[in-house]
């Protein structure tokens, strides 16, 4: 397309934004609300995902050895566990080591004495792929002389279940919002198309190409999308900086770390802007196709 044509379309699309000020306001607001929620959702989900990752990578499997096992049986069990597919960081901990760990944890108030050790030997290990924790635990349970296999105590499952259902609800909500925003944009553009109906009729009559007719409306959709993305981008950036600066230092523990500001905030902004433009183009396509029959 020629530059002259493009600048003509450009100024035309700006003018029509101003002409339907109220419709413009309505659809820009819809895009703003949608993208703001999308952004908040993404910030929450991405950070929860990271935390979940941290936690799940930390899940240890504890294999408690039966009292009846002698040294030979323990060695055999160790070998069996060692050969189980997908495990890593296998470590043995004798009943004495277990006891000192417990004493360290609770103090000696429990009155536990080394000579009267009620504890069993144990193995500690991790699944190379945390998702397979449960599977591996189940497998090890079938080995001879295992007394009990303990891992995460359902914490991981619960967290993942929560993440998944949260994600689904969020996604459903966001898709509904996206459609609302697109619908509003397509309505706004339909008003422009109606206002320019005669002009379009003549354009087509004298042989303007379909793209020539279509482009101003697509541009208008893009502006609506970009205008709608501005506020969410600014708000989310400011909010995340503050969240990171204020909240992050107060959270203790290695597991609960927020995502670093960069590059996360750049990715987030790019995504929101892209989504805004996408909503705009799609919204205008819907009305252009329906009402122009180009």
């Amino acid at each position: 397309m020629k530059f002259r044509t493009f600048s003509r379309h450009l100024s035309g699309s700006f003018k029509s934004l101003g002409r339907n000020a109220w419709m413009t306001f309505a659809s820009v607001s819809a895009v703003t609300v949608t993208l703001l929620l999308v952004g908040v959702f993404i910030v929450i989900m991405m950070n929860l995902n990271k935390i979940a990752d941290n936690i799940e990578n930390d899940v240890e499997i504890k294999v408690i050895v039966d009292l009846a096992a002698n040294d030979k049986a323990i060695a055999k069990l160790e070998k069996e566990i060692q050969e189980t597919k997908g495990i890593q960081d296998l470590e043995f901990s004798s009943n004495e080591q277990e006891l000192s760990k417990m004493i360290k944890g609770f103090g000696d108030e429990l009155g536990l004495y080394k000579q009267d050790n009620p504890l069993r030997h144990a193995f500690y290990l991790k699944a190379a792929d945390p998702h397979q924790t449960a599977e591996i635990a189940k497998k090890i349970e079938t080995y001879e002389y295992t007394y009990e296999v303990i891992y995460g105590e359902g914490k991981v499952e619960k967290l993942f279940g929560f993440l998944n259902s949260g994600r689904n609800v969020g996604l459903g909500l966001i898709i509904a919002l996206l459609f609302t925003a697109m619908f509003l944009i397509s309505n706004t553009i339909r008003v422009t198309i109606n206002a320019r109906r005669n002009e379009i009729e003549i354009m087509k009559l004298v042989g303007a190409t379909n793209n020539f007719v279509r482009i101003p409306f697509i541009l208008e959709g893009i502006w609506l999308g970009i205008l709608g993305a501005l506020l969410p981008m600014i708000l989310l950036t400011v909010a995340y900086f503050n969240l990171y600066d204020i909240i992050e230092p107060k959270i203790e523990g290695e597991l609960f770390k927020l995502l670093e500001v960069t590059p996360f905030i750049y990715q987030l902004n790019a995504l929101i802007l892209g989504l805004g433009i996408f909503i705009g183009i799609w919204g205008s396509f819907m009305s252009v196709r329906k009402f122009l029959k180009v």
């Binding site: 020629k2 003509r8 003549i202 004298v206 042989g207 190409t209």
Partner: protein, 228 residues
């Protein structure tokens, strides 16, 4: 120039507006299309610039079959055809010059050529002095001249007019007809649907009468043939 073969057109509401039309119009001809209201004149004409497509049959314009012409190619067909209507279809916010230039701008003609072509055509239709006026400041006849100027500014080989004098008084109608005569004299083919008995009977040309979606009569230098 125009060839129609067994053209049949049924609208989606079931109305049959063309019921097997066969016609041939040569380059440079001036043709009146007459017939009672609802006979199918406008439909006949609209199919020529592909505003409507036939349900079956073939239409050739300069050897191009419109029945198989791709939608993407339609704009380029339209650039070779000028169309004029009873209601002018001018843009009220543009002045005379801009209304005519609009037809060239939207097909991305260069500014220099737009200036030259628009100036020339306004001269031809006698509106050079009123180039800066707006449609609502013009008489009906002047508005129609602007519309004609717009239709011929890109020098089409074919000009199609659907009742171009339908809204005009007799004297103005003759002025407009004179412009069409002048365009025709330059070798441009003209197809004009009209209800204007006086004009058809005095400015003699080929007359095609459409009745009930069929060609009822086709005479060179024919008469209007209906009581008004």
């Amino acid at each position: 120039m125009i060839v129609m073969k067994d053209v049949y057109k049924k609208y989606s509401n079931g109305v049959v507006a063309s019921n097997g039309i066969n016609i041939e119009i040569s380059r440079g001809e001036f043709v009146y299309v007459v017939g009672p209201s609802g006979a199918g004149k406008s439909t006949f004409i609209k199919m020529m610039y592909r505003e409507e497509t036939p349900t079956s049959g073939d239409i050739f314009i300069d050897g191009v079959n419109l029945a198989t012409l791709k939608r993407r190619k339609v704009p380029y067909l339209r650039r070779r055809i000028g169309v004029v209507f009873q209601d002018f279809k001018l843009l009220p916010k543009l002045n005379v010059y801009e209304n005519v230039a609009f037809a060239l701008e939207v097909i991305e003609e260069t500014p220099a050529r737009i200036r030259k072509k628009v100036t020339d055509v306004l001269e031809l239709v006698g509106l050079a002095q009123k180039a800066r006026m707006f449609p609502n400041e013009l008489s009906g006849g002047e508005q129609q001249r602007v519309a004609i100027a717009r239709s011929i500014v890109n020098v089409p080989q074919l000009v199609i007019a659907d009742e171009p004098t339908g809204n005009l008084d007799p004297e103005t109608s003759y002025e407009i007809m004179n412009i069409f005569e002048r365009i025709n004299a330059r070798g441009t083919t003209i197809v004009m649907a009209t209800h204007n008995k006086e004009i058809v009977n005095t400015m003699k040309h080929r007359v095609i009468a459409v009745e009930g979606g069929l060609i009822a009569r086709d005479e060179l230098g024919g008469a209007y043939g209906y009581e008004v």
